[in-house]
Amino acid sequence: MIRGIYTALSGLNLHEIKQSILANNIANIDTPGFKKDVFAVEGQDEVALFRFVSGQTPAFVGELPLSVQPQWNFTTDFSQGRLEATGNPFDLAINGEGFFVVATPDGPAYTRAGNCTRSADGRLVTLEGYPIQGEAGDIVLPEGGEFVVDEEGNIRAGGEVVGRLRIVRFTNPQLLEKLGGNLFRAPEGVTPEEATGYTIHQGFLEKANMDIVEAMVRMIEALREYELAQRAVVAQDETLGKAVNEIPRLG
């Protein structure tokens, strides 16, 4: 009886987290390069129930999970977002696998948001001012004139190649930590490798891989699941109430 109340409660807590994660996905629906977080719930390790009658071998009744837990193996969905034409030459998008490498004061970070700009000293930087890394370090664009980025990431200014964007991939991107500011960080022991399966598109931005219809449906789902868990608590409470108040009266 009491056991059921705690099981339902663990569901309530997790569905609240689920709703928060959905709200964050929705708030970032227009954030370039944003990758949505996915949150799913599963039953925790099951416990076996036995019936004990004195003088007999305990009889196996069944298995029962006592609480629910998040599914650990899948938290961020790194699927491709749709590319939107902006016409701004400083907007770069990756189609396919990989991340841009950004040099932050705390070491390298990785991003899918290619909305960059040129700093006062001519380097290609993110909107926060962190330099975007080429294969030979910072990318310096010569003064004036236009620059062209081809599909392989080669940067040309005035017909001359001035650098090549460094695009890296991870065997398991799930291990990346979100830093905020459109950046990901690789925890210790996770090393990037050179990506190959990508094309770079200049004048395009990758939008969040979040779809408004899906967001709506997931939100309704989270709300109803929450409601259901609440119902379970109420039902347990009523049963318990009957046990406490009405059963003694019958006797």
């Binding site: 609240e16 987290i17 709703q19 928060s20 994660i21 959905l22 709200a23 964050n24 996905n25 929705i26 708030a27 970032n28 629906i29 227009d30 954030t31 370039p32 944003f34 977080d37 949150f39 998040p70 650990w72 193996n73 899948f74 938290t75 902006t86 016409g87 701004n88 400083f90 948001a113 909305n115 700009t117 040129r118 700093s119 006062a120 000293d121 909107l127 926060e128 003064e143 004036g144 398991n172 799930q174 291990l175 930590e177 979100k178 830093l179 905020g180 500011g181 459109n182 925890p187 408004i212 967001a215 709506m216 939100m219 309704i220 989270a222 929450y226 409601e227 609440q230 608590v233 109420v234």
Partner: protein, 262 residues
């Protein structure tokens, strides 16, 4: 629950800002030399509920943890300096820069501002001034009684005086250019001033070293595309709506919690 409420609120604020910028772009759709702006968004910080790599047993660890994002924030509102459409006016003092560069304007406080708006006029002293009366830098003075004014592609200003056969040169219009024009500060009246982010201006002759050329009798309209702004407005409105729905949902969940105990 409270988390979802505030997260969705940052989403609504962001969309409000987006709409503010779109409204300003649309309000300036016919402003000479206006450059459209765009808001760029970033995800806010993350609250880590369970760290990635937390050991679950001596041999195993959590492969991917739980990070709850706390919303969105605007990272920058940047000007897009693409070329606007060019239209003919026939007015000899209307100038357009075809390509890179800004006109330099001397403000009353002695600082130099920069503009793409080439709708110049003459003041009482014959100086070429903006619509607000701020003179071009270096100053160009048209002598009184000039019959015609010619401004060449390279910025040379010549006038023909009555009774003279040879045109007379009165000055050269110079252009300024920035390594990062998106770093310029807009001060209204179609003017920009230099900042640390834009870098120092490089001054040069139109048509040389990558500077744009001048065309007389034309003006540059804004680079705002109405269709694009309309689409952005629709998308901003719908995103605003779904963020509001997220708030309603969080509210409903709180109400469900409140009804748990009767």
């Amino acid at each position: 629950m409270i988390r979802a409420l505030w997260t969705a609120a940052t989403g609504m604020q962001a969309k409000q800002l987006d709409l503010d910028v779109i409204a300003n772009n649309l309000a300036n759709v016919n402003t000479t030399g206006f450059k459209k702006s765009r808001v760029d968004f970033q995800d806010l910080m993350y609250q880590v509920i369970r760290f990635k790599g937390t050991p679950t047993s001596p041999e195993t660890q959590v492969p991917s943890g739980i990070e709850v994002g706390l919303g969105v924030r605007p990272a920058a509102i940047q000007k897009i300096f693409s070329q606007g459409d060019i239209y003919e006016t026939g007015n000899p003092l209307d100038l357009v820069i075809e390509g890179d560069g800004f006109f330099q304007i001397l403000l009353p406080d002695g600082t130099v501002a920069y503009t793409r708006d080439g709708a110049f006029k003459l003041d009482a002293q014959g100086r070429m001034v903006t619509s607000d009366g701020f003179p071009l830098e270096p100053p160009i003075t048209i002598p009184q009684g000039a019959e015609s004014i010619t401004i060449a592609q390279d910025g040379t200003v010549t006038v023909k005086m009555p009774g003279e056969t040879e045109p007379q040169e009165v000055g050269v219009i110079e252009l300024a250019r920035f390594i990062n024009p998106a770093g310029l500060l807009s001060i209204g009246r179609n003017l920009y001033v230099a900042t640390a982010a834009s870098g120092e201006p490089q001054v040069g002759t139109p048509g040389l070293e990558g500077f744009g050329t001048l065309a007389q009798g034309f003006l540059e309209t804004s680079n705002v595309q109405i269709v694009e702004e309309m689409v952005r407005m629709i998308s901003a409105q719908r995103a605003y709506e779904i963020n509001a729905k997220a708030i309603t949902t969080a509210d409903e969940m709180m109400s469900i919690t409140n009804n748990m105990k009767r």
